[in-house]
Amino acid sequence: MLNKKWFLGLATMSALTLAACGNGGAADEGTVDEGTTDEEVVETEDGEEFEAPTTGGEGVLDVWTFTDEASTMINDYYLEEFPDLGYEINISEIPTEEFETQLDPVFGTDSAPDVIFAEQAFVKKYVESGMLVDLGQYDDLVNGAEATYEYVKEIGTQEDTTFVMNSWQTTPGAFFYRQDLASEYLGIESPEDMQAAINDWDGFLETARELKEASDGSVYMVSSRGDLNHPYYMSREQGWVVDGELVIDEQLYELLDTAKTMVDEGLMMDADPQGEEYFAAMNGDEVLGYSLPTWGMHFWLKPNADETAGNWRMVTGPTSYFRGGTWIGITQTSDMQDEAADLIQWLTTSEDFMTTWAEDTGDVVSNENVVESVRGDYEEEFLGGQNHYDAFADAIPAIDGSIITEYDQTISGAFDDLALTPYSKGEITQEEAIEAFKLEVQNLYPNLQVD
């Protein structure tokens, strides 16, 4: 009698404990790497729900990514090509803004995934972490990567020249503008003429002033400071941090001045980058152009410009730049490193795959041979038949990957929020702006030498 009661009590207690855990299923399997496959729903900052990332345990290749391209590439291409892998691939898709907060706590531990995708803004953080597998040990991958654009590999390489992450894409940026508005107000009839007019920042400002005069202030040159900062950031001589010291490049002061001039003279709409007005103006007649990279055209411009489709053209703009991009690497804690390397090798170096991928999606791939062979074949209806691939391909060689640092996301963000935005709006002086920016950087990175 007594025993039975004790047992009942214990059973109730453990049942309660397990139920509250929400992890009951994995508890009695007894393997070393149990994984967490229970579906859990979490929210992003904007209240958007997403499933918490999972790891599948032993014999499952776990991939954590922030882009839905990953599941397309793996499910529709990789698994089609290799149907008999003998193991499962478990893809967890985490919204970009939550990606680091989900990954950082487990990165470097046994709970980490096998393969991680990382975005340009934070890729260097993982590259320099020293916790990714050296891809140099996989000869096929290294040989295949010979045709990969230099800057792509440079970003995926540690300071001590260990090559740890590679990418399937390049992300050159461009200035997209409305041809109908340009010919109406500026008398510019072709992308070549447009490029000639805005070949440098002085020309850019002059054109903006002409546009304002001709349209009586009803059409702005650009929508926001977000159309200025990325080109400027990428044309810096040095990255944010050199030898543990914060560097404020000359280009950044020029960026501050250009932005302020454009706001003061009413040359830009001054919407919040990626805010409602920023996207809404893509369908209106108030903004002449946007600075966007390859993916920006597909993911931001096209979906928001259905009424103005066909009127857009693209040119390089005042400076060549790039923005974004996705790199793939293997964690050192992975128990399936060879399988992970196979995946990365195929996604980032297989010319067959890249050709198909480029043809299917229009993505500008990282393999020079493939880009050269497909660049002639495009006609983008959205751009009135212009060959965007060709134009993007032209911009790749000018990209400098050496200015990307592990501090970019945070420091660029601080510069945007505390210096560029308030200064361009005339709220503070340039000195105050730089001071506030430095204070924040010092605060977030106590070990950096600021000043």
Binding site: M13, D46, G47, G108, A271, E276, T421
Partner: protein, 321 residues
């Protein structure tokens, strides 16, 4: 108190019963099993993290480091000299004060109207739930709504004000320190006054009706019975509201963070936002974040004690008279 008297009476009854029934086993121990899950979770998810945080505040754990080295009070001195941290403390208190003062006034007013028997308002149930409604919406959605309501340059509010001729150029609300603080405080006020008012109503309804009847017989006006009977007897519940709101207010994070991320000029960067940014952004300085958390804990405890004491002193003085 109530439970102990119950058990004693049960014992008395049991002793008077025939012997075979008195032999029944003492089942009190089952209580431990049923409270055990709570304690297990409390120890794992509250107790342990709290002491771990205190431990981290004395170490140098940051970034990818996995080993923590003892650094003594270094983090504390760094933090006290940190301009941004001191600003965040000030910001938090400013936001709390401009949200709490109007909130408690309006909540008292509503509680007074809703419980006033002479006014005998109709549809109080409906309005109570209406006023409570903002509290049900998640902070993320509220922030999103207000973000777009006040957005610049084509937000609805700007368009309306332009249309009515109140302003000649759009106002960028989230670029002004004053209006951003006001909006954040307003949202906090709007989300919580319903809750506060319901707690206060419960307090008022808990007052013995006969006191009001007696006052009315003695010819007291509504206002007199409110100030002379309701207010003094509401002291404990007001104390409760004040302390819980203060604790919540010191930990304010979601609305300012989602609305502007702490900007403009870090004017709504609260202590919690500071902690969050230290822990998860930049160099991921868990040590500094932990130190700031410990400061927050100390601050909350000290202020709560102060409020408790000041309330108690006043009531004893009055009682002595």
């Amino acid at each position: 108190m109530a439970t102990s008297t119950e058990t004693t009476t049960e014992k008395d009854v049991a002793e008077k019963r025939p012997r075979n029934l008195a032999k029944r086993k003492n089942t009190d121990k089952w209580g431990y099993f049923f409270v055990a899950p709570f304690f297990v979770f409390f120890l794992i998810f509250n107790f342990y993290p709290m002491f771990y945080t205190i431990y981290l505040s004395f170490t140098d754990l940051a970034g990818w480091a996995t080993e923590a080295n003892f650094v003594g009070l270094q983090n504390y001195t760094t933090l006290l000299n940190n301009q941004l941290y001191r600003n965040s403390v000030v910001n938090t208190f400013i936001l709390w004060v401009i949200n709490f003062v109007p909130q408690i006034i309006l909540a008292f007013l509503l509680a007074y109207w809703f419980t006033n028997r002479r006014l005998n308002l109709k549809g109080t149930g409906f309005f109570k739930s209406m006023f409570y409604l903002p509290n049900i919406i998640t902070a993320a959605s509220v922030a999103l709504i207000f973000r777009s309501l006040f957005s610049y340059p084509r937000g609805p509010l700007n368009l309306i004000m332009l249309d009515w001729g109140l302003i000649s150029t759009p106002v960028d609300f989230y670029r002004s320190v004053f209006s951003t603080r006001l909006i954040v405080s307003f949202i906090q006020f709007w989300m919580w006054y319903g809750q506060t008012s319901i707690v206060l109503q419960a307090g008022i309804l808990g007052i013995d009706d006969s006191l009001f009847d007696a006052a009315r017989v003695d010819g007291a006006t509504d206002w007199q019975s409110f100030t002379k009977i309701t207010m003094p007897l509401m002291k404990p519940i007001t104390l409760y509201v004040l302390v819980t709101s203060l604790i919540g207010g010191l930990q304010i994070f979601d609305i300012p963070y989602l609305l502007t991320g702490g900007g403009p000029a870090q004017s709504v960067e609260t202590m919690m936002i500071f902690i969050y940014k230290q822990a998860f952004q930049g160099g991921r300085n868990l040590n500094i974040a932990s130190t700031a958390s410990v400061f927050l804990l100390i601050m909350t405890a000290v202020i709560s004690l102060f409020i408790f004491n000041s309330f108690r002193e006043r009531s004893t003085k009055k009682g002595a008279r």
